[in-house]
């Protein structure tokens, strides 16, 4: 690596990829910790069964987005990497949604069986 050292700051300037400033790292980290506190706190409030879930998921998604954008450099990265990541999320949601479509169809039979067995 001495070569690149000798080549001087020329190399430093065109270092591959984006160098994240420390202030931003701390800011993002701090916000993530803050949002963790918020999500714990919000759970204490009663927003209804789905209400609480939605709020928790929204906060988690904000946190996840921050991790991806800043820590994982997606903001400065080749857009294709973001596409790869987004498509993985897309296919997971597809998987979950379609499987959920189907969830209650046979569950009724199980409940009925449980009732008949007197459980």
């Amino acid at each position: 690596m001495s070569d690149s050292k000798n080549a001087g700051h020329d190399h430093d300037h065109d270092a591959i990829g984006h160098v994240t400033p420390p202030g931003l790292l701390l800011l993002v980290g701090g916000t993530l910790l803050f949002l963790t506190a918020v999500t714990v706190w919000v759970t204490m409030a009663d927003l209804g069964r789905t209400g609480n879930l939605i709020v928790a998921m929204v906060i988690a998604t904000i946190k996840a987005t921050m991790v991806c954008t800043y820590f994982m450099h997606l903001k400065w990265d080749k857009p294709f990497n973001a596409v790869v990541f987004a498509s993985s999320i897309l296919f997971v949601s597809l998987f979950i949604t379609i499987a959920l479509l189907d969830k209650s169809d046979y569950e009724g039979d199980i409940q009925e069986m449980n009732l008949l067995e007197g459980k």
């Binding site: 294709f80 993985s88 296919f91 597809l94 998987f95 379609i98 499987a99 479509l101 189907d102 039979d109």
Partner: protein
């Protein structure tokens, strides 16, 4: 482009010597050949199991083996053929050898990962064999719960084997996708890429997005069986249908992981042996990607009779119809490619034509099964067995055979005997149809699959089917014989025996260690044949412009 083969005897086969130089190699061509050897050995194992099954079904009830062994035989046959042969067959074996060559790259993006994939394949295969030796699983290759959690056979090694093989497949896909994105030489635009590479690209997408789900499914099933966590076990509040959702979320795209590379191979063979530019290049290229995406939305068509909701069933059925569109686009484009072309009926072309015919039967019968009401009648009968064998055997394996013959001169530097090749192809094709056509008839009359015993009335059909299977077995033995023999006695292969214009034909046969003596410059599409002419002295094709210059 390539330096004449006379100048160098140093190729990737002779570059280093000794068994270790193979086992530790990072060269994609050697890894591809090691895959090929392993895959074909596994094909022998799976094929032997198939012969055993067909022999057993010669008469109703016990013929050769007892019912338990029979269940184990078809499980082994299915698991080996799917996980060890067809999935890695074209992408990992042939793809490894020719992908960087076709792209004009020096290697795949991650050579060490590539070797690791091969070792994972070997470990996975050993796990499956462990299961075979100890007490072979009898669940069928689908490992459906709750039976797979209750049977006394050794399912865990088989599951673990499939889990490992999944990772082998993921890493291969990841490697190829990255290679195709990042290692393109100057001039190699997306739409100058050979269609085989497009097919591998589409396959890679599916390997990346689907196979991890298989991993987690099998992992959960292993844990379920080992400690009884009850995610799939109804006795503990688990949901066995959930297993089917999980399994088919992978295994339906897996069907396309198996067949899309086959599309790629025949897309190479048709134009070369018709001496005509491929018809509808972009449609063939993009239909592979369309199949890859649509393939994720149809898994529920395996579950029409599993207690899935009608809404889900209807949606899945509808989307399944859609898959026929990109598939048919390909088929029609291949036919249009041959139209008014100078069709040469060499062995690879015979396999490609067989593919077109046989795969179409498999594909169209798939349309019967995608209709919910018809499927209720045909589900779990021999109709399904015949359907997927027409697709997998007639599609994937036929294309694998075509690909092996097509690239054999490039991979080994030797020509196989053409006459025997044609005879072999015809025997295999005949055997294949004799095996599986009767199964369509039996299935539609109600013969259930995976049964050890059957009604007398089905016996003639079963016997025809068995005869077909034996014929096919003999055909494959013939192929194995002349291919192995050609390694020693085959005439030296010219650089471009078929007149292909893709880059792998522009280096020596076999290629140099670093693939190209001079880096290729790509200035035209992969299917332009005007520059190539047959030279009887060389025994292959040479560039006209080059001759004129020299």
């Amino acid at each position: 482009m390539a330096a004449p083969s006379a100048t160098v005897d140093d190729n990737f086969l002779t570059h280093e010597k000794g068994i270790l130089s193979w086992l530790c190699t990072l060269d994609h061509k050697r890894i591809g050949l090691m895959y090929l050897i392993c895959v074909l050995s596994a094909f022998l194992l799976g094929g032997s199991a198939a012969m055993l099954i067909r022999a057993e079904l010669w008469t109703p009830g016990p013929t050769l083996i007892d019912h338990q062994t029979y269940n184990q035989a078809f499980t082994l046959h299915g698991a080996v053929m799917v996980f060890l042969v067809i999935i890695p067959g074209i992408p990992a074996a042939l793809g490894n050898v020719v992908l960087p060559l076709m792209l004009g790259a020096k290697d795949v993006a991650f050579p060490r990962l590539n070797l690791a994939s091969w070792y994972l394949w070997v470990i996975g295969a050993l796990c499956l064999i462990t299961s075979l030796i100890t007490n072979c699983a009898d669940t069928g290759w689908t490992f459906y719960t709750p039976y797979s959690t209750t049977t006394t056979t050794s399912v865990i090694p088989a599951l673990f084997g499939a889990f490992i093989l999944g990772f082998s497949s993921i890493f291969t896909g990841l490697n190829f996708l990255t290679t195709l994105h990042k290692l393109r030489p100057a001039g190699m635009t997306w739409f100058r890429m050979p269609l085989f590479l497009w097919a591998i690209y589409a396959t890679g997408i599916m390997q990346i997005l689907a196979t991890p789900v298989l991993g987690i499914t099998l992992l959960m099933l292993i844990v379920e069986r080992a400690v009884g966590i009850g995610i799939f076990d109804p006795a503990l509040g688990g949901d066995p249908v959930l297993f089917q959702h999980f399994f088919w979320f992978y295994s339906h795209p897996a069907v396309y992981i198996m067949i899309v590379p086959a599309f790629g191979v025949v897309s190479e063979i048709f134009p070369v042996f018709s001496r005509k530019r491929i018809f509808g290049y972009k449609f063939i290229a993009l239909s592979s990607v369309a199949i890859a995406v649509l393939g994720f939305l149809v898994w529920g068509h395996h579950m029409f009779t599993s207690g899935q909701s009608i809404v889900a069933g209807t949606v899945f059925s509808g989307i399944t119809f859609l898959i026929a569109i990109p598939t048919a686009i390909k088929a029609f484009n291949w036919i249009a490619t041959m139209y008014k072309g100078a069709v040469h009926l060499d062995t690879p072309m015979l396999y490609a034509l067989a593919f077109l015919w046989v795969f179409s039967i498999g594909g169209v019968t798939g349309m019967f099964l995608s209709v919910m009401s018809t499927d209720v009648h045909l589900h779990d009968t021999y109709f399904v067995v015949a359907h997927f064998h027409y697709v997998m055997m007639g599609g994937a394996i036929t294309a694998l055979m075509g690909g092996i013959h097509y690239w054999w001169p490039k991979m080994t530097g030797r020509m196989y005997p053409e006459k025997l090749g044609r005879i072999g192809a015809v025997i295999v094709l005949f055997g294949l149809n004799l095996t599986f056509l009767p199964q369509f008839v039996m299935g539609s009359r109600g013969m259930p699959r995976r049964y050890y015993n059957y009604l007398e009335e089905f016996q003639p059909m079963h016997q025809l089917s068995s005869l077909g299977a034996f014929t096919m077995g003999l055909g494959f033995l013939l192929v194995a014989y002349y291919l192995l023999r050609s390694l020693k006695t085959g005439p030296k292969a010219p650089d471009n025996p078929w007149g292909g214009n893709t880059l792998e034909w522009q280096t020596t046969s076999p290629p140099a260690y670093y693939n190209f003596h001079t880096p290729p410059v790509i200035t035209e599409g992969p299917y332009e044949y005007a520059d190539w002419t047959y030279d009887a002295k060389v025994g292959g094709y040479v560039r006209i412009s080059k001759q004129a210059k020299s």
